[in-house]
Amino acid sequence: MLGYLTKRLIQMTVVLWVVSLIVFMMMSFTGDPVFMVVPIDATDAEIAQARRILGLDQSLFVQYVKFLTSIFEGDFGRSYVFRQPALDLILQRMPATLEMVLVAMALAVVISIPLGVYAGAHPGSRISKTIMAGSLFGISLPGFWVGMMLIYLLAVQWGWFPSSGRGDTVEVFGMRVSLLTADGWTHIILPAVTLSLGTMAILLRITRAGMMEVGRQDYMKFARAKGVAPRDVLFRHGLKNSLIPVVTIFGLQIGDLIAFATITETIFSWPGMGKLLIDSIYRADRPVIVVYLMLVALIFVVINFLVDLLYTLIDPRITLK
């Protein structure tokens, strides 16, 4: 366990370092962020002063070294645009994103797992075929288009849901949560549904594939030979065994959800960190982009760790090494 943790920790450090390095290198191709800050008719002297204030007057290498050294003091750099610590900007917006991702994930799990088990257990049936065709549509739909249509129909035409924003929030442990208010729920439904469609389809398909794979295993037939009812064979022996690929994909999907949240948040004006990323990209605000990507990498490492832990809970053959 200790060895495993050390290994993971080293991996994480390397990943974070590489991410920061790549982002720094790549971002030197983008537009000069100073032009996003100074007035359009700024003189050279004014531009130079702005550069100095933003720390952009030094070479990229020096900027990078400075960035790395200040990380050890807990300083992840300041946004060029907001002049605020980049980490704070992201952390302020993170609860909103995580909340949406959470609801989307929950929706996906609640809907896709039972349907996937059914489709995997009855591969030939008409209902299964309908479910599978539906899931294919799910992965073929462009998410932004679905979001647009949902806003147009459900918010504008019929007025069932608000079209944008987060609604009322309640502060819990310093984080703003909208899941505790009715208004918050009406706001989160559309974006969460939009976001969850793809994941729903993928989880469903993986669950089905897992079930079918497991269905071919000897122990399933052996269980039937023991006299276990088909339904119990499915759920007692099958489901748990088919969960391992599902858990893996589940972990990957959280990453995808966080990524696709950028688009969903842009459409629904959801005040999360994904929208901040898109805005920062438009504004060439490198410090925010670096920290965002490092933070997301960190989240992924944590998710991978949790997935590994989950494996050990599901499968006694797996130990953390």
Binding site: D218, Y219, F222, P316
Partner: protein, 330 residues
């Protein structure tokens, strides 16, 4: 020497077919045999001969695209084919248990062996938890696993292959079935373990006065275990009869070929080298005798007419136009 007792299981004209893209496969094509109480029947044949399908047909576990198309499976005088799935569930495990070929895959890797043995008792007995547990420990000791109580909480991957097959046997035996269908129970095991497991199975069956169908490609195994032997080729019975007679005086050239391939000592190499050629494509069987192309004694008639099963002496029958007469040297 077997004594013809009242039949526990009687299979009549069983036909199981698989409907695949390239045509219909007659995996089991009109097979009839019976198993008496307390009797061990050996079902022998090369791989692909439809032996396992018979086992699953009996238990009603043929999955699409396969289907039992015809025949009767009389268990204790009742046709299992007429039973509903619900009724069959009560028979599976309790009346007829099965031991699979590969103990590595027939146990659920995510459940402790205790849970998996216990499942049988939960399904087929009224015992309470404590009694069931005691019974499980007892059973596990019976099949030769030491520290049974402790090992109940272990997972299959913590056992060796032979130990796992012992667990499978424990599962098969614990509900006290009248018939055990063992499908190649030792094929996946090391040679040294094989005889231990066979011994254990025989002992368990005899102790409980149960019957057993032993499905194998290995006539050597059958000769150690069985009372009666049925030899299958391409989904059909080519010869059957009491073990002693059949082994000492095989009437069908295929049986003779199989006997010739019994390994000397532990030499498993060159199996079946005595029979030239391979099993024909079951989707595309030749006219006449299926074995004709590999048969050293084949004649013109064999190519035209399929041989019927006909009785020889005491309980024996053979499907060959020209059954062998000579006694085989032991």
């Amino acid at each position: 020497m077997s004594v013809q007792k009242q039949a526990l299981l009687e299979v009549r004209d069983l036909k199981t077919r698989f409907y695949t893209f390239a045509g219909v496969v007659n995996a089991v094509d009109g097979v009839s045999f019976s198993v008496g109480r307390g009797e061990i029947l050996g079902l022998v044949g090369e791989s692909g001969g439809g032996k396992s399908v018979i086992g699953f047909s009996i238990l009603g576990l043929i999955d699409p695209p396969g289907k039992v198309d015809d025949g009767e499976i009389l268990f204790g005088g009742v046709d299992l084919r007429r039973k509903s799935e619900k009724e069959l569930q009560k028979i599976r495990g309790k009346e007829i248990a099965m031991v699979f070929q590969d103990p590595m895959t027939s146990l659920n890797p995510l459940q402790t062996v205790g849970e998996q043995i216990d499942e049988m008792l939960r399904l087929h007995s009224d015992l309470d938890g404590k009694a069931r547990r005691a019974r499980c420990i007892e059973m596990l000791s019976d099949v030769g696993i030491s520290e049974a109580e402790k090992r109940l909480n272990n997972y299959p991957h913590q056992f060796s292959g032979g130990m796992r097959q012992r667990v499978v046997i424990a599962i098969a035996m614990i509900a006290g079935p009248q018939l055990i269908i063992a499908d190649e129970p030792t094929t996946a095991l090391d040679v040294t373990i094989q005889s231990q497991i066979l011994k254990l199975m025989k002992q368990q069956v005899r102790e409980r006065e149960a019957s057993m169908i032993l499905i194998t490609h290995d006539l050597a195994v059958v000769s150690q275990m069985a009372d009666e032997i049925v030899v299958l080729y391409c989904g059909k019975i080519v010869e059957k009869g009491p073990k002693q007679d059949l082994i000492s005086k095989p009437a069908h050239p295929y049986t003779q070929g199989l006997l010739g391939s019994i390994p000397k000592l532990h030499d498993r190499q060159d199996r079946l080298t005595q029979i030239p050629g391979t099993v024909p494509d079951v989707r595309n069987l030749p006219q006449g005798c299926n074995f004709r192309e590999r048969c050293p004694f084949a004649q013109a008639r064999c190519a035209e007419e399929e041989p019927e099963q006909h009785a020889l002496d005491a309980g024996r029958s053979v499907a060959c136009h020209f059954p062998l007469e000579q006694e085989l040297a032991p």
